[in-house]
């Protein structure tokens, strides 16, 4: 990365973890052992909104810096956007390019990171479990009653204010939303992320026009 100042990736991972912890803590301070399920649900949703909101802000600012040096990024097709994210953004934020990119008809992209840096140090998922940012589930349900979804943090994690896999993914999706909002101003892109037991993290950029119902 000529012409640009760099810092160690370890420091940025540490800072990102602390930011996610901070966003969770400011909501979870209200969580008590005896909170009702409805109260915990609301606190959880607020924490995820906060996380995505901060990520969005960071993504917006970062894309302005990245585009400042990419004067040739004039035409933005979905493929251009997906490549920019997988190459320029991943290099800037994670120190490497995305490992793989799959697409369907140039409107639906899956960016696959084989060992997402910000989830290193987190526990491995059990076979059959998936974490997805699409599933909104209160923490009370994560203890046995949703067999196929490990998305919600355990109650212990929330009471101790420890980030979960999902918190990290929600924050990263927020960054992607901020970045793509600048890169692709003419349409809305639906973005979500999933993590599987093989430790692959997929970031989905869905450019398909939404059918109004």
């Amino acid at each position: 990365m000529a012409h640009h100042t760099l810092v160690s990736e370890s420091v940025v991972s540490g800072l990102s973890f602390e930011l996610v912890s901070y966003a969770i803590r400011r909501q979870s301070n209200e969580m008590e052992e005896n909170s009702s399920l409805a109260a915990r649900n609301e606190i959880e949703l607020n924490a995820l909104k906060d996380l995505e909101g901060i990520g969005l802000l960071i993504g917006l600012r970062l894309s302005e810096r990245l585009l400042y040096r990419e004067a040739t990024f004039g035409v933005s097709t979905p493929l251009d956007v997906a490549r920019f994210v997988g190459q320029q953004l991943w290099k800037s934020a994670f120190g490497k390019k995305i490992d793989r990119m799959k697409h369907m008809d140039n409107v639906y992209f899956s960016l696959i990171d084989n060992n997402f840096r910000w989830l290193q140090g987190f526990s491995r998922l059990k076979t059959g479990y998936v974490v997805s940012t699409l599933v909104v589930c209160p923490p009370g349900y994560s203890e046995g009653s949703v067999a196929s979804d490990e998305a919600s943090p355990s109650r212990r994690e929330r009471i101790e204010n420890s980030p979960s896999h999902k918190d990290i993914l929600v924050y990263t999706v927020g960054i992607l939303r901020g970045v793509t909002q600048v890169l692709y101003p003419h349409g809305s892109i639906r973005i979500h992320a999933t993590l599987n037991p093989e430790n692959e993290t997929q970031f989905i950029l869905d450019f398909r026009p939404q059918t109004s119902s």
């Binding site: 100042t5 760099l6 810092v7 420091v11 940025v12 990102s16």
Partner: protein, 192 residues
């Protein structure tokens, strides 16, 4: 503290930085700025800026405690037996290795307090502090103090680290004071 040893330490810091995974300093500065902004917005009373200084220091301690293992593995720095050696390693190798900060270090009082000075601060890219209580009381990069004290604590040195000059406040340079407070006591003893 000989000049040649300082030169060696600075070279070691540069080598350690070059050999590690690196990301954009802009992304780092933007992330940090968003967090500081959020902390300021969350203050129950807007003039209670010292709270943010404390939060940034505590956060830095946690980050520093996590970085020290990588420092030990990758820096090539020998174990520090004296605080002077630890201060020099932290300032010249650690700050360079992780933050790409090129610092100088000078003793202020013999073997007790060290001044760490640096011109370019990667955290302060794109930052202007508003006039008033924030500019007067916020040490914007206070996380650096916590990183240093947190890392030193993990290798047994208790240190106070504080900013005394900051270019964001209009000072000509950035300066930290690092003061040795003692050795970390063992949390448990094995009696035989």
């Amino acid at each position: 503290m000989s000049a040649s040893r300082s030169l060696t330490a600075a070279k070691e810091g540069e080598k350690a930085f070059e050999s590690g995974e690196k990301v954009s300093a802009e992304f780092f500065a933007i992330t940090y700025g968003a967090l500081v902004q959020q902390m300021l917005a969350d203050l129950p009373q807007p003039d209670n800026v010292e709270t943010v200084n404390q939060q940034l220091d505590a956060m830095g301690r946690r980050i520093g405690a996590r970085l020290v293992e990588e420092f030990g593995a990758r820096s090539g720095s020998p174990p520090c037996r004296t605080f002077a050696q630890a201060a020099e390693s932290a300032a010249l190798i650690g700050l360079r290795m992780f933050l790409n900060i090129k610092a100088t270090v000078e003793p202020v009082r013999a073997a007790d307090t060290f001044s760490i000075t640096f011109q370019e601060n990667p955290l302060a890219l794109f930052v202007e502090l508003p006039e008033g209580v924030v500019r007067e009381r916020l040490w914007y990069s206070n996380v650096v103090c916590g990183v240093l004290s947190g890392a030193l604590a993990m290798v047994g040195f208790v240190a106070d680290v504080v900013f005394v000059r900051d270019t964001l406040r209009g000072d000509p340079t950035n300066e930290l004071l690092l003061t040795f407070k003692g050795r970390e006591k063992e949390t448990f003893q094995i009696e035989r």
